[in-house]
């Protein structure tokens, strides 16, 4: 996979981001401390720190990487881990837990080398690979089915600490994975969590992933899920973004075999001064694959959210079928939203479409609900839940779905909306 395919933007802006050595100095120290290879360092420098001029990072909180300085978090305090797990209602015995990027209880640990080609062209994924040499490894053998919850917790000792959790998943041919991810951490501390989920779906495999990010209110989160989808495999991903100061979630899907499918859905809720940056890149590199993307955002207070979704159809990936829909709701005058749904098509026998809207709650709907006696705050809450509901409906597990719908309701309540 050449860098050119990824729009060439990294190549063009490289020079600008490497000139400033000062910004990279403390990363260099971290690389040396982790004894990361020189190859990885060169790749990281070449890709450059995220900058506004790079299209993929256009709406990101890029100052956090260049202006702040970050130190690797030490192993987390056991009591703090237990307390957060219990708050999240997770059983450590049946869950795979990573704390500050380290796998607890040495459950399935292995090499961190990136499987997904897309990760090689990604600066922060490269940083993750270099700084976390040991990844949590989940392997699901041919024909098997596995259900597992993975919790990645960041519990730093102080401000300015970073963690680079890495999770590598191999779903063998015909296997099924039902995985839930929770990204959470200390309330009140300024930390940076940069998790990478690298998942490969073998021929005919199916993976259902539900990811929830509810980091601490000062946290910076930059997470990537990279999926390599082989022939006839299917990925179903539902993302819920609920908390953090600045949060970026990226989904990179490469269809490397024919007749693959990916259903991506994401919901993001931002209040306060939260900055949310959601990006997807679905690359149809093989014929007859089908992708669906459904993203819904709700922004309150001074929150800002951007959605950048890209569908790439390679030459000869005939029969590609890609649809993308993104909608954002602004609940306050001070909230802002941006969207950049992008199509890059190099084959002719394709069906590709996207739709994007930004607006406020429909006053006609609000009036209808109120005219039937539903108080204004509850009416707004109902409409927001319905709006987000489209995304949550993609969660197959009913109890998990209901719990998440409740979360949206509680989020609205927390904003002074709804009973």
């Amino acid at each position: 996979m050449s860098a050119k395919r990824r729009n060439g933007f990294q190549m063009k802006t490289m020079a600008a981001s490497t000139t400033n050595d000062d910004k990279l100095a403390h990363y260099r120290a971290a690389f040396e401390h982790a004894q990361a290879s020189e190859t990885l360092w060169r790749r990281f420098v070449e890709l450059g720190l995220p900058a506004r001029a790079q299209e993929a990072w256009h709406y990101a909180d890029v100052g956090a990487f260049s202006r702040e300085s970050w130190a690797m978090a030490a192993p987390a305090d056991g009591a703090a881990v237990r307390s957060l797990l219990s708050e999240l209602a997770l059983d450590p015995a049946t869950s795979l837990v990573l704390a500050n990027g380290r796998v607890l209880d040495d459950k399935g640990v292995g090499s961190a080398a990136a499987g997904a080609a897309a990760l090689h062209a990604h600066s922060l994924a490269t940083l993750n690979e270099a700084l976390t040499p040991r990844a949590a490894v989940i392997t699901i053998a041919a024909g098997e089915t596995k259900t597992l919850t993975v919790a990645s917790l960041t519990l730093p000792a102080g401000d300015g600490e970073m963690a680079h959790p890495r999770i590598a998943i191999k779903v063998a041919a015909g296997a099924r994975a039902d995985l839930r991810f929770i990204f959470a951490g200390s309330a009140g501390k300024r930390y940076w969590s940069n998790p990478v989920v690298d998942i490969t779906l073998g021929e005919g495999a199916e993976a259902r992933l539900v990811s929830m990010a509810r980091e601490g209110e000062q946290a910076l989160h930059t997470g990537v899920i990279a999926a390599t989808v082989e022939r006839r495999a299917r990925l179903i991903l539902t993302e819920l973004i609920l908390g953090g100061r600045s949060i970026r979630r990226e989904t990179l899907v490469d269809f490397i075999g024919e007749d693959g499918a990916a259903d991506l859905a994401g919901a993001y809720l931002g209040g306060g001064e939260t900055r949310i940056d959601v990006r997807s890149e679905v690359s149809h590199l093989s014929p007859r694959c089908r992708s669906r993307q459904l993203y819904r955002g709700v922004l309150d207070d001074k929150a800002f959210a951007a959605f950048q979704g890209r569908v790439y159809v390679a030459p000869h990936a005939q029969g590609s079928d890609a649809a993308q829909s993104t909608r954002s709701l602004l609940l306050q005058r001070t909230a802002e939203a941006a969207a950049k749904p992008e199509l890059e098509i190099h084959a002719d026998d394709v069906k590709c479409s996207h739709g994007a809207t930004v607006g406020e709650l429909d006053p006609d709907m609000l009036f209808y609900l109120e005219a039937r006696g539903v108080p204004p705050a509850e009416a707004r809450s109902m409409l927001v839940k319905a709006f987000i509901g489209e995304v949550l409906e993609t969660i197959a597990d009913e109890s998990l779905r209901e719990r998440n719908i409740d979360r949206v309701g509680r989020w609205m309540t927390g904003r002074g909306e709804g009973a």
Binding site: P363, M365, L369, A371, G373, P375, A379
Partner: protein, 252 residues
């Protein structure tokens, strides 16, 4: 008979244009009134003012409902107080099932009226029973509110909501529009079932067709923002025969 609704000298401006200019109307408990008028006479505006829609705030006059100042209440409080507006064009709300919507609305209204919320079982029983009287397929209740409903289905859904919420004063805006004759009979049946000494009806309509099935006690003609004539049910027939032309001139 006690007074249900009293409108005095009501003026309303919408988008900089005066639509209502001095409406006076008194409806007593148990009465059925019909307001008829040509297009653009202010009929729908009157219904929105009574239900409290944003942008339809009166510039002058008063509206008293069961002795309370109606204009001081927000739309949900008016609904709880017993005002029901049957919309001419009910809005579609994706993502909220009709069932969930009905239940939320009913419980909100009951709570505001100081009544206990209905249990899930009681609610289900009630909604099924009401749906049946309106010839509605219970499957429809699982669908999102009005989404993909035909014109007739939307109007039946309005009637179902009215039956569930048991209002004191139902304002029905062009409820007959878009209905075929069978649907019209079912909807009329729904309206008549609600009639009683404790309830009043205000039907807003362009044609008298609905009035064959729901016979009014009083008929008003609204033209150019005010009531220009009031009479018995025979007035509706007269309008049907002679049209609105004489009134359009009179109010000018």
């Amino acid at each position: 008979m006690t007074v249900m609704l009293e409108i005095k000298n009501l003026h309303t401006t919408v988008g900089g244009r005066e639509i209502l200019n001095g409406v006076n109307l008194t409806i007593r408990a148990g009465e059925v009134h019909a307001i008829m008028g040509p297009n653009g006479s202010g009929k729908s505006t009157l219904s929105y003012v009574l239900a409290g829609r944003d942008g339809y705030t009166p510039t002058q006059g008063s509206v008293t409902f069961q002795g309370r100042d109606l204009l001081a209440l927000d739309p949900a409080e008016r609904a709880a107080a017993g005002i029901f507006l049957g919309f001419q064009y009910p809005v579609e709300i994706p993502g909220i099932s009709t069932m969930n919507f009905l239940r939320t609305a009913l419980n909100a209204v009951r709570k505001a009226r100081g009544e206990a919320e209905l249990s899930a079982a009681d609610f289900l029983k009630l909604v099924r029973e009401k749906a049946k009287t309106l010839d509605m397929d219970p499957e429809m209740l699982k669908r999102s509110v009005n989404v993909g409903f035909s014109g007739g289905e939307k109007k039946r859904n309005e009637m179902l909501q009215m039956a569930m919420l048991q209002p004191r004063l139902a304002i029905l805006d062009e409820t007959d529009s878009g209905l075929d004759i069978d649907a019209l009979k079912v909807v009329s049946h729904g309206i008549n079932a609600l009639r009683g000494p404790e309830r009043s009806l205000l039907m807003i309509t362009h044609y008298q067709r609905l009035l064959d099935y729901v016979v009014p006690d009083v008929v008003h003609v609204l033209a150019k923002g005010r009531i220009v004539k009031t009479g018995g049910k025979e007035l509706a027939l007269e309008l049907e025969r002679e049209g609105y032309a004489p009134y359009v001139g009179e109010a000018a």
